[in-house]
């Protein structure tokens, strides 16, 4: 899940408050910014070496995660399993947690379990941080479809247990679409027409906002169009960020941006939150977990939203892409790998675990039992009387196109984010930036020593 990452940039504010120090001192602090990793990681849990715990002397597992309400979920496990006690540590979220984990690996104080978004896993694998799970958690891994497992396996090896998936849908203010007399679009052509109609009716209102700050979102839209940014063949990476499908998506949004038909407020910014709450942004392209986000930032609009399938490039198609979603990996250094696998099997695939995942954490589970349970779950309150939300999630998940994530996703996303931001600021085309992102991404892979196909 990506959504609670809105706090990231403010938490980055290091202690560089007006530096009232002389040259040498200041020079040193500049150096130390680079030298210091995260020094506040928690204690490693490996207090005992034996693989079986008891109520009197339980195995203690440390779990680094940012899942919503995960404390409540773990409390259920802990009360039922006195021999295996799990401790939550909310160190960081998303990419920040990856950085923390890589640093912790160097410092030798990794947790037993770490949550990771699918695109972050290659970094953890290539740093030798995570354990191979095929023999460790075969019961859990048998509960997933092959497409989902592809997100966590390379070659014949599986490195993480999938937790939730984020199939893109579209959340729509149906009441305001009615007010403006605009039908809810089902294709991207209709979407562009609707954008123009809404803008004509009230120039201060936008159909949606284009998100330059989350390239993962743009990746999802490109996946829908059939993009394959990375493919692995014959033990070589092939990079195609400027392929035809991606250019089609970039052209489409560049057109809407050039005509001023979409807002450019970054998702989760104060401005965007306000616009979503006061009805100046009428829709949001987001996965299942988006319902929880809307509930959090625009509680007064509850009941006015509806989730609909993502608009299609050709009428009659049902494709979508993925945004967010995460898995859990077990550290290779953990002395309690079997206990950790037992916990994750419970959390992600047992009846009780998936119930918690759907109802308490409002995630769309990646496992088959989880998806079956969600079909019986109640629709989030923000969607009013809609009854087919979980069914729509299930259909979207099975219609989602995906591609493999390379080991330099973080670099590629950072490059793309800056390129898109600059293009939006200067009013130039997004498509023109793709070739530059492609070149930078290939160069970075080569520099790191990965085999890249010409």
């Amino acid at each position: 899940m990506l959504f609670s990452r809105s706090t990231t940039s403010t938490s980055r504010t290091a202690s560089h408050r007006r530096t009232a120090q002389l040259g040498a001192l200041a020079a040193a602090s500049a150096l130390m910014l680079a030298a210091c990793g995260s020094g506040d990681s928690s204690d490693p849990s490996s207090s005992a070496d034996e693989e079986t715990g008891s109520a009197a002397d339980p195995i203690e597992l440390t779990y680094w995660t940012w899942m919503t309400n995960v404390e409540d979920i773990v409390a259920v496990w802990n009360s039922e399993h006195p021999d295996i006690q799990v401790t939550i540590d909310r160190l960081a979220e998303g990419d920040d947690l990856v950085t923390r984990t890589v640093t912790a690996a160097k410092a030798g104080n990794l947790p037993d379990i770490v949550q990771a978004e699918y695109q972050s896993l290659p970094i953890l694998v290539s740093n030798g941080i995570v354990a191979e799970l095929d023999d460790l958690a075969p019961d859990a891994l048998s509960q997933y479809s092959e497409g989902v497992l592809n997100q966590v396996s390379w070659g014949d090896t599986t490195y993480a247990i999938p937790g939730d998936v984020g199939p893109l849908m579209m959340y729509v203010r149906t009441d305001l679409f009615d007010t403006y007399g605009v039908p809810v679009p089902t294709t991207w052509d209709e979407f562009a027409q609707a954008a123009a109609a809404i803008h004509a009716a009230d120039p201060s209102v936008s159909i949606t906002s284009f998100d330059a700050t989350y390239p993962g979102w743009f990746a999802g839209l490109s996946q829908q169009a059939g993009a394959e940014w990375w493919t692995a063949q014959d033990n070589e990476w092939s990079v195609n960020i400027d392929d035809q499908a991606t250019e089609k998506v970039a052209d489409y949004w560049s057109g809407l941006l050039a005509d001023g038909l979409v807002s450019t407020s970054p998702t989760y910014s104060a401005e965007w939150n306000t616009a979503l709450a006061d009805g100046t942004i009428l829709s949001w392209i987001a996965p299942t977990w988006g319902a929880g986000v809307i509930e959090g930032i625009a509680p007064d609009t509850a009941g006015s939203w509806q989730a609909v399938p993502l608009p299609q490039w050709n009428a009659g198609e049902t494709y979508t892409g993925l945004w967010g979603g995460s898995s859990a990996a077990i550290a290779d250094t953990s002395t309690h790998k079997e206990a950790a696998a037992e916990f994750l099997t419970w959390l992600y695939t047992s009846d009780e675990g998936v119930q918690q995942l759907v109802d308490v954490a409002t995630l769309y589970p990646a496992s088959i039992p989880g998806q079956e349970y969600s079909a019986t779950s109640a629709t989030p309150a923000v969607l009013g009387d809609q009854t087919d939300f979980w069914q729509l999630s299930a259909e979207s998940a099975s219609n989602a196109r995906a591609f493999r994530w390379s080991p330099n996703v973080a670099f590629t996303f950072a490059t793309m984010q800056d390129a898109f931001s600059t293009a939006i600021e200067n009013g130039t085309s997004l498509t023109d930036t793709l070739a530059g992102v492609q070149t930078a991404s290939v160069d970075d892979l080569v520099n790191q020593g990965y085999p890249v196909a010409d």
Partner: protein, 323 residues
Amino acid sequence: MRTVESMAAEVGRPEAPVPGVRRTRRRLNAKTAPYVLLAPALALLTAFMLIPIGYSVWLSFRTVKVADGSLLGRRTEQAAGLSNYTTVLTDRVFWEAMGRMVVYGVIVVVIMFGLALTFALLLDHPRTRAAGLWRTSIFIPYAVPGVIASLMWGFIYLPAVSPIVSAFEALGLAPPDFLGSGTVLFSTANIAIWGGTGFNMIILYTALRAIPSEIYEAARIDGCSDLRIAFSIKIPMIAPAMVMTMIFALIAMIQVYNEPTALSTLSHAITSTWMPMMKIYSDAFVLNNTFLAAAESVLLALLTLGVSLGVMRATRRFQGVED
């Protein structure tokens, strides 16, 4: 009472013991005392300054490579020679950030110094009323943490909630775009000026108060106007304080990070590598390339040191002091 000569004579005669003083112990102390007293500071300096600096420099000559050439090959750390430095020095993004920082620095230093000096001179003028109140009011922004100040100004700049934009719209005028690519550098500089003027003003004001009033009296007797006193006496006499505050300001400029980072969520014009420090953060903590970030930090630290020494040397020459 003994005279100084008689005490000196006693000291010169070690055989004659002075009651209550053990000579041998005192001589030993005189040799070791400086080291004993310096030890805690030296230990802290070594542990928290020299070792991290050394480690950073070492890291800047390292890199990670994929050893076995497989799709998700294990990354291993290895020597990199000067490759991190050549990467940085040929990186257009790094130089763009440096250029931006220099423009930002010129804006901040010139305006902040003009304001701080003007305020200090005005407060020092004997006919200024309620000087204490003014002094506190100008100083207060410095007490607001940089991040809070940036968020506060961010809301003043943000069109949807900005009181300035509302005022322009109420008057039927086109509101300024504070967060556009052409203006955001000034908007960022404004936050730093707002926060830093009070601090510099206080230092200059304190220096002004230390000037003996006899000099002013002498100048007045010679027929000096207030303006003449300000330019010919006050400013030259507080030059050392001005040099010091100038160095502070230049260092703060090179390390600018808080303000643009806080504003970056509000403006597409601020990228993740907008200022050198932001690029270092991004390389180290977003892209996991601690090695490149270390090389950038070393270069920035050398720049800081060079600028500080340069300013000191230039001003010393300016004041006619020989090295």
